[in-house]
Structure formats: structure tokens, C-alpha cells
């Protein structure tokens, strides 16, 4: 089953639930606005995830230093063995 089909089935199920709500308990005016609330909260959730992720973005400045050491070691070794490692 393609993923879009899965998502559409989910959407249909949620819509059926919403229409059910429309008919029964919840007062009309609120029920009509539920999809809007849902989409807005989804958007807010997305922005929150981006913000949280950005704050906790793992960084590794020490890796750059280690990399430079590795590069120097590699250049030393390879130069001795006749491999051309001049800077470009």
C-alpha cells in the first residue's frame, strides 16, 4: 500500500469522526471550526518541533580540530610514500 493511501485513509477516518461530531453532541458552531483548529495546531506543532530541534541541534566543534590533526598525519604519511598531497 502506498504511503499516500495510508494518509488518505487516516484523513477519511478523522473526517468521519468529525462529521459524526457535527451531527450529535457538540454545538454546531464549535464543530464547524474543528478542522481549522486542527490545522492550526498541526502547524504550531511543526514550528515547535523545528524550534526545539534547532535549539538542541548537536554540534561538535572538537571534531573539526581532530579532523585537522588527522589530515596532518595523513599528509605526512602519504608524502613519504610518494603520493601527491599538495594543497589545491
Amino acid at each position: 500500500m502506498k504511503h499516500i493511501v495510508k494518509l488518505l485513509i487516516l484523513l477519511v477516518a478523522v473526517s468521519a469522526f468529525w462529521i459524526g461530531l457535527l451531527e450529535t453532541v457538540v454545538p454546531r458552531s464549535y464543530a464547524w471550526l474543528l478542522p481549522v483548529y486542527f490545522i492550526v495546531s498541526l502547524g504550531c506543532y511543526g514550528l515547535l518541533m523545528v524550534g526545539v530541534g534547532l535549539m538542541h541541534f548537536p554540534t561538535c566543534p572538537q571534531e573539526a580540530v581532530l579532523l585537522q590533526k588527522d589530515i596532518a598525519e595523513a599528509k605526512e604519511f602519504l608524502k613519504q610514500r610518494g603520493v601527491d598531497v599538495d594543497c589545491d
Partner: protein, 278 residues
């Protein structure tokens, strides 16, 4: 050893037997430990490391040195798929072959830039290992993580081990705020829409079982880094066992990065394509 002076021959025999029995038990115990250690250390797999290159004259030499440094006691080969680099990458690879041997470094060049996906397919044709590693040539993927990929695969029996930059223990360096923002935004969007089951979709530092890679790659049609996304999403849909290891990603040291502005449009198009076809 104390001499058993003055003991009867019966006693001597008894103590001899006791000593040898104890020795036998101890030796048996030590042998069992050694065998267990050997079972964990013996890795009969061969790993083919495919590295597509274009104008990576200096980086490929450094990469090869680091791979050999970190993969002692592992059977592997490095397959360099060069797309006709004008800067002399192929000459440097030939020099490396003199140092390390032509059976460990394979040069499989192509006449001109033909794309990343086809580079992997080309490398796969010449791979003799039962596992395949794909990585970038620009040292943003550090070979020191190769043992952790291998260890993870041996421990879990996974078909695919992918490196992720976004978990604790991983990380990036050299990205400005804009870059981090687009990366994080792209990731959240992809996670919400596709439910891929991995935390890093666009990463290209991965270990595949060779049969799995052949199966997944035959059904992928995208280009560029969307291709990497398509591979992992298709593998996830096909229910292959995928594991992750944290890796650090230091943005390229030498040479110019190949990421431009129109990549965002390409990404969104790729996302839509994956949504509908996987």
C-alpha cells in the same frame, strides 16, 4: 614447583593426577574463553566501500589513509568511482594503488559526470564484498565511524546501518544558522509526511548488505540527495531491518560544496514524489 621428596609412589601419582587434572580444567576454561573471544573477533565479512568522486584530488588520498588506519583486521576494498575529474583525481588514486595495492583500491572511472545513483550502481557491479559501504569523498564522513557501523551490524544482524547526525553522540560542525534551519525544517516535514523510521533521511553514510542494496537501488529513480532519501524510504517500506549509529559531520574542508539554492525546490518535489510512489 616443590619437589615431592619422600612421598610414596602412590602419593606422588595422586598429586600428579590432581595437578594435571587441575591444569586440564584451567586450560579447558582458558581455551573456552579464547574461543569465545575469537568468535566475537572473527569477522568473515568483506566490505566494499564505494566512494564516488569528482574533483577530490586531495580528499581521496586523505580518506584512503584514514580508512586503512581505522579498519585494521577487516577484509575490505575501496572502489573509487571517478566521473572524469579534470583535477587529476585519477592520478592520485593510481599513486595510492602503488602504496596500498591494486586489490585493495579499485579504480572504476567513468567518462564524465553521470550522477550519484548510477555511480553506486557502477561501483556495485565491481564489488566483491558481501557488504557495501557508501560514503562521501570530502571527509565530511569520517572513516573512524566505520568500526561502529560494522559492530552495530554484527550485533543486531541488520540489513542496513545508517549514520545519523541528529541524535546525541552525533552532530555537525561548520553549518550556519540558516543551514541548520533548513536542515531541521526539511527533516520535520519529511518525518511528518513520510514516517520513514529513521532520524536522518538525507545522510549518505551507510552500510548495506549487498543483496539489499541491489534490491533497493533497482527501484530508485531520483537524482542527487533525494536519491539518498528514496533509498532509505524504499528500504523502510520493504521492511528491511534498519539500525542507526550517531556520526559527526564536519562540513567540507577542501574544495567547494555542491549545495545550491534551487536544492530546496528539488527537495520539495522529491518529497511529493516519495509521498505518492512509496
Amino acid at each position: 614447583m616443590p619437589q615431592s621428596v619422600g612421598l610414596s609412589s602412590n602419593d606422588k601419582l595422586l598429586s600428579c593426577v590432581k595437578r594435571s587434572t587441575y591444569n586440564r580444567i584451567e586450560i579447558g576454561f582458558l581455551e573456552k574463553k579464547e574461543r569465545k573471544k575469537q568468535r566475537m573477533e572473527i569477522n568473515k565479512n568483506k566490505y566494499s566501500i564505494i566512494v564516488p568522486t569528482y574533483n577530490e584530488r586531495l580528499n581521496i588520498a586523505l580518506l584512503v589513509y584514514l580508512v586503512f588506519k581505522h579498519l585494521r583486521d577487516v577484509d575490505f576494498e575501496i572502489i573509487v568511482v571517478d566521473d572524469g575529474s579534470p583535477d587529476g583525481t585519477q592520478e592520485v588514486v593510481k599513486q595510492l594503488q602503488q602504496v596500498y595495492g591494486e586489490d585493495r583500491i579499485l579504480m572504476r572511472a567513468r567518462p564524465r559526470k553521470l550522477g550519484l545513483g548510477t555511480a553506486y550502481v557502477h561501483g556495485l557491479k565491481h564489488a566483491s564484498g558481501n557488504f557495501v559501504v557508501i560514503m562521501d569523498a570530502d571527509l565530511s564522513h569520517h572513516p573512524k565511524y566505520l568500526p561502529s557501523f560494522i559492530r552495530k551490524q554484527l550485533e543486531t544482524g541488520a540489513s542496513i546501518v545508517t549514520g545519523t547526525r541528529y541524535v546525541k553522540g552525533g552532530g555537525v560542525h561548520g553549518w550556519n544558522l540558516m543551514r541548520k534551519l533548513t536542515s531541521r525544517g526539511a527533516n520535520v516535514l519529511a518525518q511528518t509526511l513520510l514516517w520513514p523510521g529513521v532520524s536522518d533521511l538525507t545522510g549518505s553514510f551507510r552500510l548495506y548488505r549487498k543483496s539489499v542494496l541491489e534490491d533497493v537501488i533497482s527501484s530508485c529513480v531520483s537524482k542527487g540527495y533525494v536519491f539518498q532519501m528514496e533509498m532509505i524510504v524504499r528500504a523502510s517500506r520493504k521492511r528491511y531491518h534498519i539500525e542507526e549509529v550517531p556520526i559527526t559531520f564536519v562540513d567540507r574542508v577542501y574544495g567547494s560544496s555542491k549545495l545550491g539554492g534551487s536544492e530546496i525546490v528539488e527537495y520539495l518535489k522529491g518529497l511529493a514524489y516519495l509521498l505518492v510512489t512509496t
